[in-house]
Assembly symmetry: D2
Homo-oligomer: 350 residues x 4
Amino acid sequence: MPQIPVAVLGATGSVGQRFVSLLEGHPWFKVIALAASDRSVGQKYSQAMRWILNEPMPDYAKDMVVVPATVEAAQARIVFSALHSEIAKELEPQFAKAGMAVCSNASSFRQAADVPLLLPEVNADHIQLVKTQRTNRSWSGCIVTNPNCTSAGLTVALKALNDAFGVKKVFAVSLQALSGAGYPGVSSMDILDNVIPNINGEEEKVELEPRKMLGKLNENKIEFADIKFSAHTNRVAVLDGHTVCASVEFATLPPDVQSVLQTLSAYQASAGADELPSSPRPVIHVREEADRPQPRLDRLTGKGMSTVVGRVREDPLFHIKFVVLSHNTIRGAAGGSIYNAELLVNEGLL
Amino acid sequence: MPQIPVAVLGATGSVGQRFVSLLEGHPWFKVIALAASDRSVGQKYSQAMRWILNEPMPDYAKDMVVVPATVEAAQARIVFSALHSEIAKELEPQFAKAGMAVCSNASSFRQAADVPLLLPEVNADHIQLVKTQRTNRSWSGCIVTNPNCTSAGLTVALKALNDAFGVKKVFAVSLQALSGAGYPGVSSMDILDNVIPNINGEEEKVELEPRKMLGKLNENKIEFADIKFSAHTNRVAVLDGHTVCASVEFATLPPDVQSVLQTLSAYQASAGADELPSSPRPVIHVREEADRPQPRLDRLTGKGMSTVVGRVREDPLFHIKFVVLSHNTIRGAAGGSIYNAELLVNEGLL
Amino acid sequence: MPQIPVAVLGATGSVGQRFVSLLEGHPWFKVIALAASDRSVGQKYSQAMRWILNEPMPDYAKDMVVVPATVEAAQARIVFSALHSEIAKELEPQFAKAGMAVCSNASSFRQAADVPLLLPEVNADHIQLVKTQRTNRSWSGCIVTNPNCTSAGLTVALKALNDAFGVKKVFAVSLQALSGAGYPGVSSMDILDNVIPNINGEEEKVELEPRKMLGKLNENKIEFADIKFSAHTNRVAVLDGHTVCASVEFATLPPDVQSVLQTLSAYQASAGADELPSSPRPVIHVREEADRPQPRLDRLTGKGMSTVVGRVREDPLFHIKFVVLSHNTIRGAAGGSIYNAELLVNEGLL
Amino acid sequence: MPQIPVAVLGATGSVGQRFVSLLEGHPWFKVIALAASDRSVGQKYSQAMRWILNEPMPDYAKDMVVVPATVEAAQARIVFSALHSEIAKELEPQFAKAGMAVCSNASSFRQAADVPLLLPEVNADHIQLVKTQRTNRSWSGCIVTNPNCTSAGLTVALKALNDAFGVKKVFAVSLQALSGAGYPGVSSMDILDNVIPNINGEEEKVELEPRKMLGKLNENKIEFADIKFSAHTNRVAVLDGHTVCASVEFATLPPDVQSVLQTLSAYQASAGADELPSSPRPVIHVREEADRPQPRLDRLTGKGMSTVVGRVREDPLFHIKFVVLSHNTIRGAAGGSIYNAELLVNEGLL
């Protein structure tokens, strides 16, 4: 397969760096442009920012000169967007109109009726919505989005359970990593020996986004899943990896713990989404130890693309409670966008 | 008032140190014995262990020689117990039989039918149960317990709400401090850049203990409150202060946020429990900022005895959600036991 | 004594907050103005910033309206400056010219020949330099400075040793707290599970400032002490309290460890500097445990004004090595400025 | 090359786990026995302990049954020892006597006159000492040791400088990672928001071990290098990676910064030590940014085997100062022992 040229918008930030890292040696994609704000334009990528990942900066990126985030400067077939949502709202449609496929991590268009909000291992079929989008908006390109980082792992686990048993209510409390706030993000003075029990706008997203992804595509429209959510979101002193404590009430006769474990372990992505370069292997890794998953030890399961579930047990109020862990800047951000782009290619929708 | 002689059992551990610190300069109590395990017996207190509190070791304690935790060696009117529960189970009855009032932080007798489980600002009247206890067990002393550290703050907040509106269901997720695990307790390798999503036996306690404290004393028996709980408990990288995310369903017409705020702020301990040396002032401190309470900033509110509540808002699944913070080794352990002892004295039950 | 009106410039930052906190209930000083940058002007102090200290914001400050940092708006007898050095360079002379005594934590004038760089327990006599300053500059007010936070504790320990034995060379490596970088200061992504082995401009200050403070005031000039310094400065994940590892070579026959311990313990501030409200008690607290001082446990010794020294032992290369700890925003910043102001008042130099 | 059977003694501890991890897929070595204390014997390795590395436990080890650390139970050609030093002192000679090559991370024999203390990129020629050792002790096997984790990186940097310019005095202050203390090791209560300015016995090792490694093998004896060291050792809240601040005085005309940078970058291991499977690539990675090396970002340079040096600058007291970083459980422990074993094989000394 010939390599498809791609660009990264917002390439110097926390998620942008993750894109640059994950795209190194990608079998289908070749990075031809790194775009960022005026402050960085014209500089070599290696000098345009502070690299914050444990993994070293890939060689391919070091000498690339940062370009502006404009349609002219960042020409490519696929554009990965790590832009802030206000900027994304304005710029992403320009790229889509100019014929590029925008795979976006921004929240701006996640709830637009004709924009797919995708986790390919959950709702690969929703990608067909780009056809409607193209018709509606007269775009030759398109916008495809991935969910916010806290929703990602939770939704994967819920998908397996909803298919098998029907989920009705979900209580979710997150303990979120610092990288989710970008860089410099959270001040060290605010988080050392501390917890911040609030992340602006996050609870609303966790209460809404899974419902779209678990919904059904019906005649060019997504019918949201009829599941009620309540979320509390917290920031804790962890670098990467969001932990979510979840309690679930089922619509029907509640399953026993053993059935839940089997259902989660056995869950597979649908054909077409299961053998892409970024497909999680396994989709869900179930741990049975009493004290797992833990972010430091489990976040890189399946190269950071797997969802890790543990502590499955009965819930005295609802039916089942468990803990979900997911890597927030890989499965929950850059890795998710890349997986979306692979699905677009595979479905011939590029 | 003449000073009442008191002893501390388990004086070298994390909670024992907190007892020693809080009893410095107490207007009613005078520490006459510090007891610990064989390893420490015979040594000066200042050399028997590693002092881990931010506050310096009180002068009165430094040269006291550690004695064994026996009835003979630790004679006093009141005995504060920071013993491990297996040991407490065996030793505390010996002290009670010998005529001493045991104010215990151990879990061993919390669920015994004739032992009060006390938060004086919540259920001061339950202290009358010691009369039944004395009759039942032919003890001239008694055992009075305080709840586990995570239940403490949560129960205070629920008491105010239950009195006003009737609480039916509670979902609670904790982010607990390291000092709750004692010393050396949690390995640094386990918690730096990490979360541990489990604390052995804790969830069961949080699901049960508040029901006893919110219950009614009826003819020498506690009728447990008819409230259902579901708890997830987590350890995070915080030194002191347990944070609990709670969602509450009410029995009747749900109150609006403003009424909840007023109810919490206005809550008072009953007469007799409200003007003791350790009475929290205020009982509940309500914060209205979007990101409070935070353990580092708020744990010392009211000298660590107040319960701090914030982020009161509507819950899409239940009715109201909020965040509770309480200092786990002060209000949730040593400070709570001392407050219980003050109540015993005040009620003439010593 | 009637209360002296004081103002705080830069009152909303990390050091500014410490000034506001330490001035609560001060026996001599009464805060009449809190000044900050345009962003905060006109707001109530309690709403103008994020309060980051463990201690709650003092009541007196909450409703004060923030004023601009101008001579007109911040009229007082004494002005405490927590301004950034570039701004201090411009503004502080205006206040001094207008007749106010500026006690500054900024570095701008520390090395000016006619500006005292003061630690009252070290070089109280240098305060006489303000007379020269007033003559030179035709100011009715004056500027008095305190050293950078890392130099403070180190210089106190060196003063005691230099007086007794003559110090010739000092090797110093710091492990500095986050609060030294202000707020938001260091990103949590940069310091969790990490060390930053550099603090801009800090090594130069540590190699120079102690030499001025340990110098002699001779006919209106400071002769710098003839001591050579080498410094490495590091940032570590500690909230407050700078730790410095020091090795010292003496000019004469090197003292033994026991003499060093005695000399440090016995050190006193000179008359006039030893009984002020902020005088450290003791000046130096010597610890003999193998693993002290530690920032979390020892930074509040003497209300954060004492210098804590431990691990005094022979050095195989120089003569003696030890560890010094000092609270960076109290003894090393706001507390130091207030102590300087007290000395000014006491010497009749206001 | 046929695979050489190896065993790991002390396989369940912090360093033992690192051996198990690094030996996965080793081109020359095949793990046939994992030995540990009685508590673990008879259990599957995967259930015998808490795995603490970020990298998942290798599959090959999971089902291996832990054996006792005896000559009979842990038969192999090479034995890697992660034993505590008191136990190592007794057991390692038994293995050497039984014909096995013991590559040890324990300190017990590092200073024995006929035992090589090895960093192959520094003093590969010292390995010839095993011949003397075999003669002296009538062993068919041997013991070869690697230095303590703090000395490792420092000695590599000093070797390059000593060869080029002659080193005379070294001042070294460490900021050491938690994994160096094993597991559970340092209590979280001791290190969160804190520094521990002491590591038992460490300073003596740092002041002595480099002198042996930088010494000359002369007629079956090591002449220690004539370099004087002074060390301060500190524990900080970092998971892996020891940072050392070093100041160096040279014997001759001091080199300028540029020459030091070139010398460090150009340094190569001697032939025979430079192309082994674990040879660091590069031996020294020089960073020129103002704030590097940092443990989180740089510890995995060269798969954790490279020494990273940065902040090379003039020293006002000695000649040159710089910062060295080295991964303490890879280059400074398990990786170092494996590299030593590879050298033994390559030199035909097995």
